[in-house]
């Protein structure tokens, strides 16, 4: 009986971990207001001319996120002018990892010359709302009459090491398709990333 209880408990807990309670493709995103590294606040509604958004959960310390920093900048350089700006959000708690502090975010944005906002998400509110589980984790949105709709969730490409001969640029492809009025052929992908450093206690 005790074993049965334990098994039941483990099934429930593993289900709980695997279950992503955030947005799925097709969901409408609730707008947010977060503090940027320049101390100003940023909301999706601020982008009057946007046709959509590239929301990137990224951070200061994760080596996978670091490898992708330049590719995130390149996405903004290519697509902001076409109506799809990058909005980066740091989902990590500085209390859990001190190098994730707001000051370190400011330093990184300055050093790497970020041309897009890099937002602090205190208490992981927006992170949980989206259901981001790791860094980097991308959500591509399109602006519609219903609101901002999730069109793609996942990785930037399938080549974190820069050596996959069969490289596919998922985010670029999704936006290229969206911008001509199509739905992304691939709307969800997976990639290895750093788990989110949640606030303790």
């Amino acid at each position: 009986m005790k074993n049965l209880f334990l098994i039941g408990f483990m099934l429930v807990s593993s289900f709980g971990f695997a279950q992503n309670e955030g947005y799925k493709v097709g969901d409408v995103v609730k707008d947010f207001t977060l503090k940027n590294v320049d101390l100003k606040t940023v909301s999706l509604a601020d982008y009057k001319d946007a046709r959509g958004y590239i929301i990137v959960f990224t951070c200061n310390t994760c080596p996978v996120a670091k490898v992708y920093q330049e590719r995130v900048s390149a996405l903004n350089a290519s697509y902001a002018s076409k109506g799809y700006p990058v909005v980066a959000i740091n989902p990590n708690d500085a209390g859990a990892v001190s190098d994730e502090s707001f000051e370190k975010m400011q330093a990184l944005a300055k050093e790497k010359n970020f041309s897009f906002p890099y937002l602090l998400d205190p208490n992981h509110l927006v992170t949980k709302q989206f259901g981001a589980l790791k860094t980097p984790h991308v959500f591509v949105l399109s602006k519609t009459d219903k609101g901002n709709v999730v069109e793609y969730i996942g990785a930037i490409d399938n080549d974190s090491e820069g050596e996959n001969p069969a490289k596919v640029n998922y985010v670029q492809n999704a936006i290229n398709e969206l911008s001509v009025g199509k739905k992304p052929t691939i709307s969800a992908t997976k990639a290895v990333g750093c788990s989110i450093k949640w606030k303790k206690g």
């Binding site: 971990f17 990785a155 050596e163 990639a191």
Partner: protein, 155 residues
């Protein structure tokens, strides 16, 4: 003389590589299939992943406690392949890891993440308990006690 050098070099690299072998998922499946009654506890980790590094001593203790049982701990690193010599092997040596360590040799994360478990988001640490009858995947951290209990209740 030159051939002698090449042989020496080969032997040296071979002995270093012997500590952390490259592993494809086909290799892993083969190993599980040949494992008879063995349960494999396969931890996916990386030298850059701090919660993974933090739980490795628990996997080590668990490994040492199960040496005489049909239980094998396999530590599969998801570090970049380019980091094998510079990061992964020194890490394994410095931390004196006795469990078997591998570096995953799969080019496409899209394929291998799904193949390991459909529900896996790709975040690490993650651990797979697998034998010929049961396959359980956990995207979470483990303590030694949790490893023990999970193994006991694997049915």
């Amino acid at each position: 003389m030159r051939i002698f050098f090449i042989i020496c070099l080969y032997l040296i690299t071979y002995s270093i590589n012997a500590q952390v072998k490259l592993l494809t998922l086909d290799d892993l499946d083969k190993r599980i299939a040949q494992g008879k009654d063995t349960t494999y506890v396969i931890n996916f980790w990386a030298t850059w992943c701090s919660p993974c590094v933090a739980e490795l001593p628990d996997f080590e203790t668990f490994h040492l406690a199960n040496l005489k049982k049909p239980v094998k701990v396999l530590l599969v690193s998801l570090d970049f392949k380019s980091k094998l010599q510079k990061e992964v092997i020194p890490f394994v040596q410095n931390n004196n890891i006795k469990a078997e360590v591998f570096l995953l040799n799969e080019p496409d994360q899209q394929q291998y993440i799904e193949r390991i478990d459909k529900k896996w988001s790709g975040a690490i640490p993650a651990t797979l308990f697998v034998n010929k009858k049961v396959r359980r995947f956990y995207e979470k951290e483990f303590t030694e006690m949790e490893l023990k209990n999970t193994l006991l209740n694997l049915k």
